[in-house]
C-alpha cells in the first residue's frame, strides 16, 4: 500500500492545480473527478506546443503547417483507436463530448433504424446524456425507454434486465459505470446478449474510461462514447467509436466543410466515415491533447497502478465513510469505480457541500444529472466524492473528519 501511495504522491507533481489552496486557507482537496478531472502538465504542454508550433487547419491544406497539423490529428485518432482496441482508426469520430456523441448516434438511428413503438433498453442508472437524446428523437419517431432496475446495492438486476428484452427492443444503451454510484455494469455480458439477438449496443463510457481499460471487442459494442475532460484531457473533445459498418449506415449528423465529396445547390454527396461525421473545423488542438492524455494515462501512470491504487482508495473511502453516523452509502455492489454517493437524513446534501467546501473539499451535491436514479433511490440528491489516482488516503481522512463534524453540527 505504501508504495502505491508514494507513487500517487509523486504523480501529483504532474498536476499543477492540485497544489492550490482554497480561499479559506485550507489545502484544496479535489474529490469531484467524476465531473471533470485535472490535466497533467504533459497535456497542457501539448496544447501549448501545438498552438505555438503547428497550429493550422487540417485536411484542406497543402502547406507544411497544415500537413503537420493533419498528421498530428490523424495520429490522435490512431491513439484513440488503440486505446479502445478498435479494429481501425476509421471507426473513431471526434466530437465535443459524450453528450454530443450520443446525440449524433441518436440522430442517425432515428433516420435509418428506429420505427415508431420501438423500445430502448437502458439501466436505471443512466446519466441524462443517455436519456434526453432519445426523448428528442422521440418527437419524430416515438420510441420508448425501458430502464432495467438496480438491486438495492446499486448493481444491475440481471434477471430483470434480461426480462426487459422484448421483440421490440431495438437498442441497448447503457452506462458502463454509474456516475452517481460508481457501480459497474456487466457490459460484456450485456454485449454478448445484444449481439446474440442482433440488437445494436451502445456503451456510455464517460465514467468508465478514466478508471479501467476498455476493449470494444470484448464488450461487443457497436457504439462507445466518452469525454476527454473526464480522462485528464481538455474540454471540448470527446469520442464516438462506431463499429464498422455503422459509419457507412448512419447518415451524417452535421453538414459543412470536410464531410462532403461534392456540393451543389440542390444536393451534396458525403465523404466516408469518419470524415462524414466531422463537419467543419473539428476541435483540433483538443484531439491532439486528448491523445497525449491517453499516452500519459496508459504509459506514464499505467493501468496496473490505476486499478490497484483506485481499488485501495475505494475500499479505504468506504471504510471511513461508513464510520460516520447516520450516513447512508449508495452503490456498494462490486466491481465499482472510485465514486461514493452518500446521504444523511439530518443534513441536506446542499448544506453538506457548503460545509465541505469551506473545509477546502470539492465534492458535489445534487442529482448528478441522474434524476430518475435519484427518484429510484428515494432521495432528493446525494453528496458524491469521486476519486482519481492522484487522490490520497489523507484526503479521504479529511473528508471523513469533516463529515463527522457536519453530522454532529446538524444533529
Amino acid at each position: 500500500m505504501k508504495d502505491l501511495v508514494q507513487r500517487a504522491e509523486r504523480l501529483r507533481a504532474d498536476f499543477p492545480l492540485l497544489h492550490q489552496r482554497h480561499p479559506s486557507g485550507s489545502p484544496l482537496i479535489y474529490l469531484d473527478n467524476a465531473a471533470t478531472t485535472h490535466k497533467p502538465r504533459a497535456v497542457l504542454q501539448t496544447l501549448e506546443r501545438f498552438y505555438t508550433t503547428t497550429n493550422a487547419n487540417i485536411h484542406r491544406g497543402l502547406h507544411w503547417l497544415s500537413q503537420e497539423a493533419t498528421r498530428l490529428y490523424e495520429e490522435a485518432r490512431e491513439v484513440v483507436a488503440q486505446f479502445l482496441q478498435a479494429a481501425s482508426p476509421q471507426e473513431i469520430v471526434f466530437v465535443k463530448g459524450t453528450t454530443e456523441g450520443i446525440n449524433l448516434i441518436a440522430h442517425g438511428l432515428r433516420q435509418v433504424h428506429f420505427q415508431p413503438g420501438d423500445e430502448l433498453l437502458l439501466t436505471a442508472a443512466e446519466h441524462h446524456a443517455n436519456i434526453v437524446p432519445w426523448h428528442l428523437i422521440a418527437r419524430d419517431i416515438p420510441v420508448r425507454l425501458r430502464p432495467a432496475p438496480l438491486r438495492s446495492d446499486g448493481g444491475l438486476d440481471w434477471e430483470a434486465f434480461q426480462q426487459q428484452i422484448t421483440p421490440r427492443t431495438r437498442l441497448i444503451a447503457i452506462t458502463a459505470m454509474s456516475n452517481a454510484l460508481g457501480t459497474e455494469m456487466p457490459v460484456s455480458a450485456i454485449g454478448a446478449l445484444a449481439r446474440q439477438r442482433d440488437i445494436p449496443f451502445l456503451v456510455d463510457a464517460a465514467q468508465f474510461a478514466p478508471h479501467k481499460p476498455i476493449n470494444v471487442q470484448e464488450w461487443c459494442a457497436d457504439f462507445v462514447v466518452f469525454s476527454g475532460h473526464k480522462l485528464y484531457g481538455p474540454t471540448g473533445i470527446g469520442v464516438v467509436y462506431m463499429r464498422h459498418p455503422w459509419g457507412e449506415t448512419l447518415p451524417p449528423y452535421q453538414g459543412g466543410g470536410d464531410m462532403i465529396v461534392e456540393v451543389r445547390w440542390d444536393s451534396s454527396t458525403y465523404a466516408k466515415p469518419p470524415q462524414k461525421f466531422e463537419a467543419g473545423t473539428p476541435p483540433i488542438a483538443e484531439a491532439i491533447a486528448l491523445a497525449e492524455s491517453i499516452r500519459y494515462l496508459t504509459q506514464k501512470v499505467g493501468w496496473d497502478f490505476i486499478q490497484a491504487y483506485e481499488q485501495y482508495l475505494t475500499d479505504y473511502a468506504q471504510a471511513r465513510i461508513e464510520e460516520v453516523p447516520g450516513l447512508q452509502l449508495f452503490g456498494t455492489a462490486r466491481p465499482k469505480g472510485a465514486i461514493w454517493s452518500f446521504y444523511s437524513e439530518a443534513v441536506h446534501p446542499h448544506d453538506m457541500a457548503t460545509f465541505l467546501d469551506q473545509a477546502g473539499i470539492a465534492a458535489r451535491a445534487g442529482h448528478h444529472c441522474a434524476q430518475p436514479l435519484m427518484e429510484a433511490l428515494q432521495v432528493p440528491a446525494t453528496t458524491r466524492a469521486s476519486l482519481a489516482f492522484y487522490n490520497l488516503p489523507s484526503e479521504i481522512d479529511s473528508l471523513a473528519q469533516s463529515l463527522h463534524q457536519i453530522v454532529h453540527f446538524f444533529v
Partner: protein, 154 residues
C-alpha cells in the same frame, strides 16, 4: 468551522430548519404554488388562505436544504397576516438583501420584519446558496399571482 459558515448557519436558521413553523398543507387553499430548484433538488409547496387581500394563513411543505427550509419557515411567519402589497414589498426587500451589495430596502421595513429577514444577509456571501434562500419567496410570488407555473430559481 470558519466564521462565515457560523454566520450562515446561525442558531436561528438551524432552529427553523429543525422546527419549521407553519409546516404542512392547508386543506382548502385559495392559492397555491410549487417551487423547484432543479440544480440541487430543492422542492417546496405553498398553500395559502387569502381573504380580502390579506394572507390569513400559509403553510409550506417540501424537501429542501436547511437554508431553503429556514427561509420558507421564516417567510411564513413574516407574511402571515400581511396584505398582498406588503408581501410584495417584503419579497422585493428580501431579494435585494440577497443580491445587492448594499441593500437599502430592508432597512425601511418594520423592525420585526427587518430583524427576521436580516438573518439571511450572510447568504449573499455564498452566491450558489442564494437561490436556496429565495426559492420560497419566488414561489410565494407565483402563488400570489395565482400562477399555476412551477417557480424555478434556475
Amino acid at each position: 468551522m470558519n466564521t462565515q459558515l457560523k454566520q450562515l448557519y446561525q442558531e436561528i436558521i438551524l432552529d427553523h430548519n429543525r422546527y419549521p413553523r407553519n409546516y404542512g398543507r392547508l386543506e382548502n387553499p385559495t392559492h397555491q404554488a410549487r417551487g423547484h430548484n432543479p440544480l440541487c433538488g430543492d422542492q417546496i409547496e405553498l398553500t395559502l388562505q387569502i381573504r380580502d387581500n390579506v394572507i390569513e394563513d400559509i403553510r409550506f411543505e417540501g424537501k429542501s436544504c436547511s437554508i431553503c427550509k429556514a427561509s420558507a419557515s421564516v417567510m411564513t411567519t413574516v407574511v402571515k397576516g400581511t396584505s398582498l402589497e406588503e408581501a410584495e414589498t417584503l419579497f422585493e426587500a428580501f431579494h435585494e438583501l440577497l443580491t445587492h451589495e448594499e441593500p437599502t430596502k430592508v432597512s425601511s421595513l418594520a423592525a420585526e420584519w427587518r430583524d427576521k429577514l436580516s438573518v439571511f444577509s450572510t447568504v449573499r456571501l455564498f452566491p450558489v446558496r442564494v437561490k436556496c434562500a429565495t426559492l420560497p419567496w419566488h414561489t410565494l410570488h407565483n402563488a400570489l399571482k395565482n400562477s399555476t407555473q412551477v417557480a424555478s430559481t434556475e
